[in-house]
């Protein structure tokens, strides 16, 4: 069922702040330049997609992912330039269209808008939105954005932004369409909405057994069917750490991925992730951690179980050193991805 040649592999970064080998923390500006460098490396090594998240927090340097992608566009050839995610609820759909249409022009058709409600909400107070309206904001803005995608004059009315009357928005794209996906966490309603608008779906699986999402994929397909929209291949995004040996990868993941989870969880009142919880994520959950062989096996199993068409590895969480990040990208491109393709074709 899975077309192993067509299976797409990507890298996701939120713009975490790396350190050098002596542990000196990069400036945020340097962290952005590091991501640009990594995207070039990923392109040279043949990785299909780089996706950059939008955050407005101290631990992450990227708040304007499409600007960083524009820079990447000029030094890369094939890699797809995606966000992960663009927080549409607190953005303006016209602006989102304009920025991605511009990126599409700069990159010769490699732009991809990945829209979501976002797992953080700092952007709401920052841009003057009320969190209580998070659902209405997303619904309305997605509605307007999907109209803009047709690249014809738009007339629109809603509660969350000024109305438009025959508004023509530029630039137009050469392909007549900006590739767009919706990324969701665990909310069934968001899955149904994605199918209702006829967009491809990305599942952000940041914890627990990936098998749990099987019914969500079924829900997406059934909903697409009901709304007479196509059901596109599903993408999954999860955290990972690849190093030369399992031991090294586990230690790095404990010191970095776990650290970032503890920090973020702490803001939400979660008890810090225990060793037992960490081990279970590494063994059967949603942290892909280990040597290239270990990670490839776990990925192949998950891809087969869920029947997905795209996987994106979130790399570099929690202040991992720049050299470890680059090494991980190399291992992912040269060892893990070919091995996963091999394992999938054996099945």
């Amino acid at each position: 069922m899975i077309n192993t040649k067509k299976m797409i592999f990507g890298l996701d970064s939120f713009g975490d702040i790396p350190t050098d080998d002596e542990g000196n923390v990069y400036t945020q500006a340097h962290a952005i330049r590091q991501v640009i460098r990594e995207a070039k490396l990923a392109d040279d090594l043949g990785i299909d997609v780089i996706a950059l998240g939008e955050h407005h927090r101290e631990e992450y340097a990227i708040s304007s992912p499409d600007m960083v992608l524009a820079a990447i566009a000029t030094i890369t050839k094939k890699i797809k330039l995606a966000t992960g995610v663009t927080v549409l609820s607190s953005d303006d759909p016209v602006r989102v269209y304009e920025r991605f249409a511009t990126l599409e022009a700069i990159s010769n058709g490699r732009a991809e808008a990945v829209l979501g409600r976002g797992s953080f909400t700092e952007s709401f107070p920052l841009f003057g939105y009320d969190l209580q309206d998070y659902d209405l904001l997303f619904e309305e803005k997605l509605n307007l954005y999907s109209k803009l995608l047709e690249e014809k004059p738009v007339t629109w009315e809603g509660k969350t932004r000024a109305s438009l009357k025959d508004a023509n928005v530029f630039p137009k794209t050469e392909n007549g369409n900006i590739a767009t996906r919706i990324a969701v966490g665990g909310s069934p309603e968001s899955v149904v909405r994605t199918a209702r608008y006829g967009f491809p779906l990305t599942l952000a699986i940041i914890g627990g057994s990936p098998e749990r999402f099987k019914p969500y994929i079924e829900l997406y397909k059934r909903a697409a069917d009901k709304f007479e929209n196509p059901a596109f291949p599903i993408a999954v995004h999860s955290h990972g750490m690849i190093a030369d040996t399992d031991e090294e990868a586990i230690e790095l993941a404990w010191n970095h991925i776990r650290k970032s989870f503890v920090k973020i969880g702490n803001d939400r009142g979660w008890a810090p992730m225990s060793r037992e919880q960490f081990e279970s994520e590494v063994q059967n959950g949603s942290f892909y951690v280990g040597s290239p062989e270990t990670v490839a096996k776990r990925l192949a199993r998950m891809i087969k179980t869920l029947g997905i068409g795209r996987f994106e590895l979130v790399y570099g969480a929690g202040g991992l050193s720049a050299s470890a990040r680059e090494h991980m990208i190399e291992l992912y491109a040269t060892k893990v991805i070919p091995r996963v393709r091999e394992l999938l074709s054996e099945a």
Partner: protein, 228 residues
């Protein structure tokens, strides 16, 4: 006579608890915030066998109802429809959906006490709020399993508490009954048990250690009666 349970809120938590209920052989009635058709497909795929009804009809069908909606929306519940019911409050304050709301984070009480004060004719019991929804799904295990995790249950009406403890057991967790509803503060975000996924004795210890935590100290200072 089969067991019946109602769930209000067909989101992340509501659908997972619904799955555990179906697995345990319950008849499940689930309602959302509006028209049942809005959640019909979700329920058909994620909870095959469960029945989608309006909130009002859910209350007619069963005397045991789980609240799995955003805490900030608790006042959209009908006091009358939920009268005389045993209510399992699984809600937490979550600023990402509830926004800034000092009432919901007040350390001098538990958010479940607020819910009880509002649903004045119901018997509110707090449970299932302190484990993430995917962990509730992954960690549910049959009785006697060595690695079985525990869920704390607090409430003022002892019969209702016993009934909810049985639900916790049926759903795949060891129930740990821990006193009056006001003790719910020990299970809320910022407490050592929140998201910790512990076994019975570890959970008991963690609940007892609340006073030594930052939030616990703040609760004592605010004169929270559960700390006395």
């Amino acid at each position: 006579m089969g067991k019946k349970i109602g769930i209000l809120g067909a989101g992340k938590l509501g659908t997972v608890l619904g799955q555990l209920a179906l697995k345990a052989g319950y008849e499940v009635y689930i309602g959302g915030s509006g028209n049942p058709s809005k959640i019909a497909l979700t329920v058909e795929v994620l909870l095959p066998g469960a029945k989608v009804l309006t909130a009002k009809e859910v209350a007619k069908k069963t005397n045991l109802i789980i609240l799995a909606l955003p805490l900030g929306k608790y006042k959209s519940l009908s006091i009358e429809e939920l009268s005389n019911k045993v209510i399992i409050d699984a809600m937490n304050y979550w600023w990402e959906v509830d926004g800034e709301n000092p009432e919901l984070t007040d350390v001098s009480s538990s958010s479940s006490v607020l819910v009880q004060n509002y649903l004045k004719n119901s018997k509110v019991v707090k449970a299932f709020n302190h484990m993430g929804y995917h962990d509730l799904y992954d960690e549910a295990k049959e009785k006697g399993h060595e690695g079985r995790k525990a869920i704390a249950v607090v409430g003022d009406a002892s019969e209702a508490v016993a009934q909810v403890a049985q639900v916790v057991d049926d759903f795949g967790f060891d129930p740990l009954v821990y006193g009056s509803l006001s003790q719910g503060i020990r299970m809320e975000p910022g407490s050592p048990v929140f998201g910790a996924n512990l076994k019975y004795h570890d959970l008991k210890r963690a609940l007892a250690s609340f006073e030594t935590t930052k939030r616990g100290v703040a609760a004592i200072k605010a004169g929270n009666q559960a700390m006395k």
